[in-house]
């Protein structure tokens, strides 16, 4: 009898046709391959050197990092993607206006789904593990290889099992859990491994699962996978394209480590510069800020905007602070508009922009000057990530970001009641 398997082992076995276990290298069929405007050009050049036909319907091209074009150089780059899409007849190209942060668009457009094997030339491709996919970031050359062959090699990863129990207290969410995990195991604590979440996952909303899976890479992880449940099905039912498969781990699957988190013990977390592993409870924070930034593939979803709007409603952004709100996709933007959230932000004195990665990676629309500090709902706080090398980024969930925008310093939304 064969041994039990993790979800990662099952998906990679089915996609490769090999009965595979952790440590084996397999050659697997990829369901979708995504590139963005930064990683695309290298992939296009590599692909075109091969002189092969592309696997058109499995390719997804999403300009998001430097669009709407921030300068001439990025305009040329975006044009390269547009022209490649036209030249090769790639239907899944999303022009500005129909585009957004690539990972959110992959979800909104129904490419991400349970059981799929998806690669993207962007490290946060691991996001779709929140829906039960095996998805991981690759380089541009590897994306080009998939354009040409529809396949890629994978080392089947060992998995770290994360048992979840209890439920989040009010004001605490997925961002706080993942910062806690990364702080506990370190930014290389899951290198070459996949996280597999289990236990009472029904306590974790799907939006939070996406946030958690998104940051698996910040612990070096190859993937962060939640099993698919009724909540997942509900979440994707209006948008998903095509068939998908639900996988669950075998009871006797082998894990390289097991962690356990009681959600009721978590408090809101803040990751200090310059690594996501520098997490501390927000109650210990005493940091004045110049900017608060809400958006990105980590926390730019409608659920995040609702949390932030709830906090800031009827309040004003601190006079010394710029609060920048960037819904991650057109769908999120529309929904936020329909629910009146954008008006709440603007009434408070926030700047609301259309979907883009923007300042998350130090691209545009919210770059920091020397000495400035920003609390951001993003996933990376590396040196110079959002601008000048002497600026600082503090990572937190949407509630803390909004509360901090009001207070002018990093605070727990609960504290806002007392002071403002």
């Amino acid at each position: 009898m064969s041994k039990g398997k993790t979800i990662a082992e099952k998906i990679l076995s089915d996609k490769s046709g090999v009965d595979a276990y952790a440590g084996q290298i397999v050659n697997a069929q990829v369901d979708y391959v995504m590139v963005n405007d930064v990683t695309g050009p290298i992939a296009f050049r590599e692909f075109e050197e091969l002189g092969m036909e592309p696997v058109r319907e499995r390719m997804v091209l999403i300009p998001d990092h430097y669009v709407p074009n921030k300068d001439v150089a990025s305009a040329e780059q975006a044009k390269e993607m547009r022209e490649f899409a036209r030249r090769w007849g790639i239907d899944n190209y999303f022009e500005v206006g129909r585009s957004g942060v690539c990972h959110q668009l992959m979800v909104d457009e129904g490419f991400a789904a349970p059981g799929r094997l998806i690669v993207g030339a962007d490290s946060h491709t691991c996001t779709y593990g929140g829906l039960g996919a095996f998805s991981t970031g690759v380089g541009s050359t590897e994306a080009a290889a998939v354009f040409a062959t529809g396949r890629l090699w994978f080392k089947v990863p060992e998995s770290i099992k994360v048992n979840i129990k209890g439920s989040f207290r009010p004001g605490v969410g997925g961002k706080d859990l993942i910062i806690r995990i990364i702080t506990d195991i370190g930014v290389d604590g899951a290198t070459y491994k996949a996280f597999e979440f289990s236990g009472d996952i029904s306590a974790v909303p799907v939006s939070d699962r996406l946030t958690i899976a998104n940051m698996a890479i910040e612990a070096g992880g190859k993937a962060g996978i939640f099993p698919c449940d009724e909540m997942t099905e509900e979440y994707i039912k209006e948008t998903v394209r095509g068939e998908w498969t639900s996988y669950e781990a075998d009871p006797d699957a082998v894990y390289s480590a097991e962690l356990e988190y009681d959600l009721s013990e978590l408090e809101p977390m803040v990751a200090y510069p310059h690594l996501p592993e520098n997490g501390r409870p927000v109650s210990e924070a005493d940091v004045k800020i110049d900017q608060a930034w809400l958006g990105s593939c980590t926390n730019g979803r409608i659920e995040d905007l609702r949390i932030a709007a709830e906090v800031i409603k009827g309040r004003k952004v601190h006079p010394d602070v710029r609060f920048i709100v960037v819904p991650a996709s057109p769908r999120v933007f529309n929904q936020a508009m329909a629910e009146g959230l954008l008006a709440i932000f603007m009434d408070a004195g926030a700047y609301v922009s259309g979907p883009t990665c923007g300042a998350c990676l130090g691209g545009h629309m919210g770059i920091l000057a020397a000495g400035e500090r920003c609390v951001a709902s993003t996933n990376r706080n590396f040196i110079g990530r959002m601008g000048h090398k002497d600026s600082e980024v503090y990572l937190a969930g949407p509630g803390v970001v909004a509360a901090s925008a009001v207070a002018g310093k990093i605070v727990n939304p609960e504290k806002l009641e007392e002071v403002f």
Binding site: I42, L50, H65, A73, T141, A148, L361, I383
Partner: protein, 161 residues
């Protein structure tokens, strides 16, 4: 036997890809001159001082962060022949195999400026400044083949993938 010899540039743990080449440089028009920007935020001026063949020595988790293939490509353009680190981040590792940047997973005692030689086939690093030698294991078979072929694109061109 093939070897790489050069001056050591010393780095600590968790050197991320934003440090190697910042996001604002990632536009297609820079692809042929990425060498100018390597480590510009954390080690200004270093890019201009790297000599062909120089070697980067680092601690754990080198290359963490984004999937930008610009990172290993910019280091090659700058003349770096090899990176020796205690461990590498996964995507950076795969990218380096495909673009031909030699990575050696090994803990080496050396200081900035030491004269370092790497002999891949022998699995050996020599610090000529101190006379010390260090050994590292070979890649798994598939990965060795990939490297020998010159990366994934070469395998595809040869019809082997």
């Amino acid at each position: 036997m093939e070897s790489h010899r050069g001056k050591a540039w010393r780095f600590e743990d968790h050197v991320d890809t934003d440090q190697i080449i910042p996001a604002e440089r990632l536009v297609a028009e820079n692809l042929s001159k990425m060498n100018e920007f390597v480590f510009e935020k954390v080690r200004p001026g270093m890019a201009q001082k790297i000599n062909k063949g120089d070697i980067i020595l680092a601690g754990k988790n080198f290359g963490c962060g984004s999937s930008r293939e610009h990172a290993p490509r910019s280091l090659i353009q700058a003349g770096v022949s090899c990176i020796i680190a205690e461990s590498f981040a996964r995507i950076f590792f795969r990218n380096s195999l495909n673009v031909g940047l030699l990575l050696v997973e090994c803990k080496v005692d050396a200081s900035e400026g030491d004269d370092i030689e790497v002999i891949p086939k022998a699995g050996k690093v020599i610090n000529h400044s101190t006379g010390e030698e260090f050994n590292f294991p070979q890649y798994p078979e598939f990965v060795s083949e990939l490297v020998a072929a010159g990366g994934l694109m070469s395998l595809i061109k040869e019809g082997r993938f």
